[in-house]
Every structure is written in structure tokens, then in C-alpha cells.
């Protein structure tokens, strides 16, 4: 069937990453002449089930589903499939009810590259701090996995402290880094699992008055973080192809509706971004 109307169920528009995906979907769909109905679950799984029900009553032809909550809930996909509507999962996938295709950034690999890069900058050794995202969420687990791999490859690196944030937010990044630097004033490497956390950490470094150069890695390539990265506000991030994910999701939805089968997983790499190449991504976000 032809796609005239697309339902987009977003986890949480308060996070720049999801907001960018939403913009990517909406802009591209407009080019194709497809109407998009967007709903925001504000991180709540139950709200999302309700919203998907509401989308289904509006006769959508395909669903782009960004699951809310710590991990993906199966029910929205199941409800849509029960009505024969194709589902494109983005960012998170449910094991027991996977979408017809799943699109995401390769979190583990990208985190590995960011950590490898900042560890390299620090000379392959030194004390390190990790500021995690919301504990237990898929990206938190994957990014931790990737970064731990880079740490494991550099025996000179000692992970002296780690702490979790609840909302991946800059305010949390600042307070946590300030406190952890307090306890470990000789740290030279920090990995924040989101750009907000990294920016908070950069602020924390500035204000803790530590003398040594501290290398900071982030993740996401937020549109607001990239200009700061370009000016050397911190040292590296993995720029996720948010607009690309959005476009791919729309394309996939169109194809699925037309009856094509797609690979179960379509992982897009995050681009390792440093002050040198950040300018490109500021000019045009992938």
C-alpha cells in the first residue's frame, strides 16, 4: 500500500537527540508529501501505549516507533501489527516483539571509538572517570560496553570512579564531575555518555581548578554541542546521524508498506567528531 499518513511515536522530545530525529522524519516526509502525526511519550511507557492506540484510530499507514522507558515495550508494535500496519523501530527494539526493521546508531562501536580517541589524546594512560546515562537503559549499557573495551585495550588507563545520572542532563554532569574530581583531583580522562554530560564535565573541570589537561569525550553530536566542540570546549563525540536515521525510517516505512522485506537491523555508524571536523557537521548535520 501507499503511505499517506505516518505515525511517529517519540520517546521524549525533551532530549535533543529525539527531537532531531523527529525533525528529520518530518522534513523528509514533507518532501515526499506524507502527513506525519507526532506524539511524545515524555519517557513514559504507558503514555506511549495510549498514544499508539490514538495513532491507530487515525488510520495511519505505518508506524515509526521510538520506544519509551528503560527498554522497549512490545505492546505498541504488537498493536500496530495486529492491524497490519508495518512498524519501524528506532533506537530501541523489543526482543519479544521486534519491529519489521530496526534502525539505530551502533552505540557500542561509536563509544569505543570516542573513548579510544580521548585515551589516545591523554597518551594512552591516566586516571579516568565515566559519567553514565540513566542506569539500565539500552544506550547506557551499550556505550558502557564499548568504552570499557577501549579501556581494556589500554592497561595504563585506570577507571577510578563512575557515577550514573538520572536524566542525561548537563546539571547532573556538572555536579557529578565536580564531586568526582574532588575525590580524584589527578584525573586526565572523562567520558560522558551524552554531550550534555560531557559539557557538564567540561564545566566541572573548569571550576575544580585542576591544573592538568583533562580530555573529555561525549556522545550524540547534539546540534548545540557541536559548535562548542569545534571551539575546543571538549575533545570528541560520536555524531549520530539523527537526520539520516529519520530519513531512513521514512524510507523503510514506505518500503515495508509496499510489501518489501528489510533487514532486521540497520545500524548506522556514529561519526567520530573532533574539533577539527566538527565544523562540517555544524554546517550540515548528518
Amino acid at each position: 500500500a501507499e503511505v499517506k499518513r505516518l505515525g511517529l511515536a517519540v520517546t521524549n522530545l525533551q532530549a535533543d537527540y529525539f527531537n532531531q530525529i523527529k525533525i528529520g522524519v518530518e522534513e523528509y516526509a514533507k518532501e515526499l508529501g506524507i502527513e506525519v502525526i507526532t506524539v511524545d511519550a515524555k519517557n513514559d511507557g504507558a503514555t506511549q501505549v495510549s498514544q499508539v492506540q490514538d495513532l491507530l484510530t487515525q488510520d495511519i499507514d505505518a508506524l515509526i516507533y521510538l520506544p519509551a522507558g528503560a527498554a522497549a515495550a512490545a505492546v505498541p508494535a504488537r498493536l500496530a501489527k495486529a492491524q497490519g500496519i508495518p512498524v519501524v523501530n528506532v533506537d530501541r527494539n523489543a526482543d519479544d516483539e521486534p519491529g519489521d526493521t530496526f534502525i539505530a546508531t551502533d552505540n557500542a562501536t561509536s563509544a569505543y571509538e570516542v573513548c579510544k580517541h580521548v585515551i589516545g589524546l591523554a597518551g594512552g594512560a591516566g586516571k579516568m572517570i565515566m559519567i553514565h546515562g540513566q542506569k539500565g537503559t539500552t544506550p547506557e549499557v551499550e556505550r558502557t560496553k564499548g568504552c570499557m573495551q577501549a579501556i581494556g585495550e589500554n592497561p595504563g588507563v585506570e577507571l577510578v570512579a563512575q557515577q550514573w545520572s538520572n536524566q542525561w542532563s548537563q546539571a547532573e554532569g556538572l555536579d557529578i564531575s565536580q564531586n568526582l574530581l574532588q575525590a580524584n583531583p589527578d584525573v586526565t580522562i572523562i567520558f560522558g555518555q551524552a554531550d550534555g554530560l560531557a559539557l557538564g564535565a567540561a564545566q566541572g573541570v573548569k571550576v575544580s581548578g585542576v591544573e592538568q589537561r583533562v580530555y573529555i569525550g561525549g556522545f550524540d553530536g547534539d546540534t548545540t554541542a557541536l559548535p562548542i566542540l569545534a571551539e575546543g570546549g571538549f575533545d570528541a563525540t560520536a555524531t549520530q546521524q539523527v537526520r539520516g536515521i529519520g530519513r531512513l525510517a521514512v524510507d523503510s516505512a514506505v518500503k515495508l508498506a509496499a510489501g518489501e522485506t528489510l533487514p532486521a537491523e540497520q545500524l548506522l555508524p556514529g561519526y567520530l567528531t573532533t574539533p577539527e571536523n566538527a565544523g562540517e557537521y555544524v554546517a550540515e548535520h548528518p
Binding site: 522530545l13 502525526i37 507526532t38 506524539v39 511524545d40 515524555k42 519517557n43 513514559d44 511507557g45 504507558a46 501505549v49 495510549s50 498514544q51 492506540q53 490514538d54 495513532l55 484510530t57 487515525q58 522507558g69 528503560a70 527498554a71 515495550a73 512490545a74 505492546v75 504488537r78 498493536l79 523489543a94 526482543d95 519479544d96 516483539e97 540513566q134 542506569k135 539500565g136 537503559t137
Partner: protein, 324 residues
């Protein structure tokens, strides 16, 4: 005289049964809202959508009954959202990790929820901690515990029938979860209106000291009310697990505010002693219809926040204005 007396007595009784006690304003609000939505979007006034709305308010509706009792006695329960999550996780852990039957998991969840409510209630009565603080503390504690059970992970893999309880519409009409909510509504309403325990709640809310002097066991009733609120939050957690087909420690975040808003929109006074279940049902419906309608209209999520705030304020202000 007798001729006019008899029908009047009959009328009185009916009016009495469905007394809106301060909820006529909200009822009009709900009506206006429904008319507006029916006119502005075709999708709203369809059987399927209205049944969806019913599905969507089950969690809120069940919690709101407990919250009505709590607010009626002049208290507040900020812990319901977290207790919901804790109960969910206990159920999931008991059933899917420890491997007991789901029924045992549900029982365990309700016991834990009741216990959380009892702890809040005892902090209030025994240690004189204000309800706002004791339940705020319980909110933090229950959320922490819910997360600790699986270290923040969700649990999935319930039998298929479990989730279907929330989605199969028996007779094309009622899901088991909606039926459960209706049963909770009826029992909650009946207890409040027709038992001496229910009437005592009004007295306690009006003045705990007067109630005590009248021989009402205020402490016991208070603890009881928080236990009921806890159990209903737990029950709502199980219903939510059915709707999500998974249990998550992050579930129910900030639900306490929705629940309190629904109860107060429905005319139950935060200072206690005034209100009832019928009003609460109207309040729950207003919130449910509003959310549903704004989605159907495709209003941007940011604008939705503004609209919801304005409607809440208007619904309550209308009632206050009418009273004058």
C-alpha cells in the same frame, strides 16, 4: 401533603446517591470538551476511540480512587507512582525471575504495595510526619527499591494471555482491565457513601480532632486509607504491566501529580472532608479525554502542556466560581 412528600423522598434518594458534591462544574467542563472534540475531529466520537479512552484511563482511574480517600481525610499520597513501579517489579521478579505462577507474583506485589502504604500511614500517625513528607520519602524509597530489584532493567516475557487481559474486548466491549477499574469505582463509591467507615472518612477530613472526640479511631482509619491507596497503586501497576506486557522500574514517574489533579478537578477538596468518587471519575475522564483529544487533533506536545495546564485551572476555577 403525603402525595407530594413521597415522590420528593424518592427524588431526594436518587439525587443523594449520585450526589456530585462539587463536581457539576467539572461535569459541564467534560461535556463541553467532548462536544468540542466531536465537532473538531471525526476520529473522536467513534465507539472505538471512546473504548480506547476507557482503556487508557484504567491506571489513572484505579489510583485515583485511593487518592480520593487520602485527600478526603486531608492527606496526600505522593508515593503512588513509585509504589506502582515497585509493585510491578515485585510481580515481574516473582513470576519471571523466581519462576512462581503469575498469581503469586500479583499477590506478592499487592502485599508489598500494602506494606508501603502502611509505612507511610504509620509515619503519619505514629511519628507525626506530615503526609506530604512521609509520602515524598516513600516515593523516593519505593523508586529506589524498584530499581534495585533488577538494577534498573525491565523484565519481559509474560504469558500471552496476561497482556491480552488489557486488550481483548469481551463482547466487543470490555477488557478485563476496564472491568477491573469499573469494579474498583463501584466498590470505592459504595464504601464511601453507604458504610459508617466511609462516612467517618469525611468526619476525619473535616476535623481529625472532632472525629477523635466522636469516638472514631482516627489513627487506624488513617493507616487503613494509606494501605488502600498503596494496594490500589499496586493494582494499577499490575494493570499497567498488562498494558505494557513488561515491567519497568521507571514506570509511573510523576503519576502522582496526574492522580491528584484528577481527584481535585473532580471536586474533592485538598483541605479534606469534601468530595467523592463520582467527581473523581469525572476528573479522570477529563484528563483522559483531554490527552486523547489533543493527540487526535495533532497538537504539538509542547502546546499540549500549555493547554492541559489551562484546562485544569479552568475546570477548578469554574467550580469555585459557581459556588459563590
Amino acid at each position: 401533603m403525603t402525595m407530594t412528600q413521597a415522590p420528593q423522598a424518592g427524588r431526594m434518594r436518587l439525587a443523594d446517591m449520585f450526589s456530585l458534591s462539587g463536581a457539576t462544574g467539572p461535569l459541564i467542563g467534560l461535556f463541553v470538551l467532548c462536544v468540542f472534540l466531536s465537532v473538531s475531529t471525526d476520529a473522536f466520537f467513534t465507539l472505538r476511540n471512546l473504548l480506547n479512552v476507557l482503556d487508557q484511563i484504567t491506571v489513572l482511574g484505579i489510583m485515583a480512587v485511593g487518592m480520593t480517600y487520602v485527600i478526603l481525610i486531608g492527606g496526600i499520597d505522593l508515593a503512588v507512582g513509585s509504589v506502582l513501579a515497585l509493585a510491578m517489579m515485585v510481580m515481574g521478579y516473582t513470576a519471571n525471575v523466581l519462576g512462581y505462577p503469575i498469581g503469586v507474583g500479583i499477590a506478592a506485589a499487592l502485599v508489598v504495595a500494602a506494606f508501603s502504604g502502611a509505612v507511610s500511614g504509620l509515619m503519619i500517625t505514629l511519628f507525626r510526619v506530615p503526609a506530604f513528607i512521609s509520602t515524598l520519602a516513600m516515593m523516593s524509597i519505593a523508586r529506589g527499591l524498584a530499581n534495585m530489584i533488577t538494577d534498573g532493567q525491565q523484565i519481559v516475557g509474560f504469558p500471552a494471555w496476561f497482556s491480552m487481559l488489557a486488550f481483548i474486548r469481551h463482547g466487543g466491549f470490555l477488557t478485563v482491565t476496564v472491568a477491573l477499574m469499573l469494579v474498583v469505582f463501584v466498590l470505592g463509591w459504595f464504601y464511601l457513601r453507604y458504610t459508617s467507615g466511609g462516612r467517618s472518612l469525611y468526619a476525619i477530613g473535616g476535623s481529625p480532632e472532632v472525629a477523635r472526640l466522636a469516638g472514631i479511631n482516627v489513627s487506624l482509619m488513617t493507616v487503613g486509607v494509606y494501605v488502600v491507596s498503596g494496594v490500589l497503586a499496586g493494582l494499577a501497576g499490575i494493570v499497567l504491566a498488562m498494558r505494557l506486557d513488561s515491567v519497568q522500574p521507571t514506570a509511573g514517574f510523576t503519576y502522582e501529580l496526574d492522580t491528584i489533579a484528577a481527584v481535585v478537578i473532580g471536586g474533592t477538596s485538598l483541605s479534606g472532608g469534601q468530595g467523592g468518587i463520582i467527581g473523581t471519575i469525572i476528573g479522570v475522564l477529563i484528563i483522559g479525554v483531554l490527552r486523547n483529544g489533543l493527540n487526535l487533533l495533532g497538537v504539538s506536545p509542547f502546546t499540549q502542556a500549555v493547554v492541559i495546564g489551562v484546562v485544569i485551572a479552568l475546570a477548578v476555577a469554574a467550580e469555585a466560581f459557581k459556588k459563590r
